[in-house]
Amino acid sequence: MSAEAGQQHPLGIYYKIWILLFVLSSFSYAVDFFEVQGGMRWALVLLFMVLKAGFIVAIFMHVVWERMALVLTILGPPVVLLLLIGLMSVEGFYISGTRVQYMGQDPNQVALTPSDLHGGGHGEEEEHAEEEAH
């Protein structure tokens, strides 16, 4: 296929990828909905994220059909970003550690949620919403 002719492909592949993206997004949401936690949560969320991103770039953005010179220009430079992410996470863990160790901060505090702040029960929240509606 010559590049000058443009990126024309059968419609079927777009429909398939489209459905696949829906399925993968549902899986991602299911991870949150069923409250999967810990390492499993990270593994699943990152897996579905990478798959989704890969299909969008490869098929919807046609990178899989482009010539190597363009593909490397697109995918090459962002690789250095992995270095930035790696360095910043090493640094981040270190700073967090020093704050706990030398400044006595408690790393195990629990965040508040909207229901803590609005008085707990869901019933009250609804009343609150009704009041605002009037």
């Binding site: 949401y29 409250e35 363009l70």
Partner: protein, 221 residues
């Protein structure tokens, strides 16, 4: 360096850059769009990396996204439901955009126009939901860029910066898509060819791509 050497190096410089060479065998607009998207990748990655860094370094607890972005439709609040709907809307719009590109290359102006308009409409509804999400967070929950009632104050600054910048991209994309769509309808590209639809599509898919990462890192993890 002697004057002759300088003049020689100048002429080789000119030769190299003015030689009849083409590295990318794609329309120039497409190559430029890709270069823009690569630079935009760097911007968004810097934002996400700064998020990674503040979230790691703060010893205050990070607010629970799943509860904060829950929405109630009369019954119990469903965790993260608005964000899930926004994600599905953006994927739907990516699909309609891919179809628009395909019909563009088939020179089917009517279908290209309508699929682009549909894509822009999905994009606009995404921005609308984001506006709703922002106003709920600002007015009802009291989240500010410098603090919030739940936990680490950085939550607000990161949230407004990342989703705000992404929302700006979506808004710009809606305008861009509508502009191209109406030009397609008027027949501006009958002679030039329909690469412009693909180029606009690249931008739109990129916006969807960024959301994939925001959805995973900011909302799910």
């Amino acid at each position: 360096m002697s004057e002759a050497a300088i003049s020689e190096s100048n002429s080789t410089l000119v030769d190299d850059w003015s030689a009849d060479k083409q590295a990318y065998h794609v329309p120039w607009g497409k190559a430029m769009m890709w270069i823009f998207l690569v630079s935009d990748t760097f911007i968004f990655t810097c934002f996400l990396t700064s998020y990674l860094h503040v979230r790691l370094t703060t010893t205050e607890p990070w607010p629970l996204q799943s509860e904060i972005f829950a929405l109630s439709f009369g019954g119990d609040p469903i965790p993260l439901i608005l964000i899930a709907i926004m994600t599905f809307i953006l994927i739907t719009s990516s699909g309609t955009m891919a179809l628009a590109v395909n019909f563009g290359y088939r020179k089917d102006k009517v279908k290209t126009f309508w699929f682009m308009v549909a894509t822009a409409a999905f994009g606009a509804s995404f921005v609308g939901m984001q506006a709703f999400e922002w106003s709920k967070l600002i007015l009802e929950e009291g989240v500010r860029p410098w603090g919030n009632p739940f936990g680490a104050p950085q939550f607000g600054s990161i949230f407004f910066m990342i989703t705000g910048f992404h929302g700006l991209h979506v808004t710009a994309g809606v305008i861009y898509l509508l502009t191209v769509a109406f030009k397609v309808k008027k027949g501006h590209y009958d002679k030039k060819g329909y690469e412009i639809v693909e180029i606009a599509g690249l931008y739109w898919h990129f916006v969807d791509l960024v959301w994939v990462f925001i959805f995973a890192f900011f909302y799910l993890l």
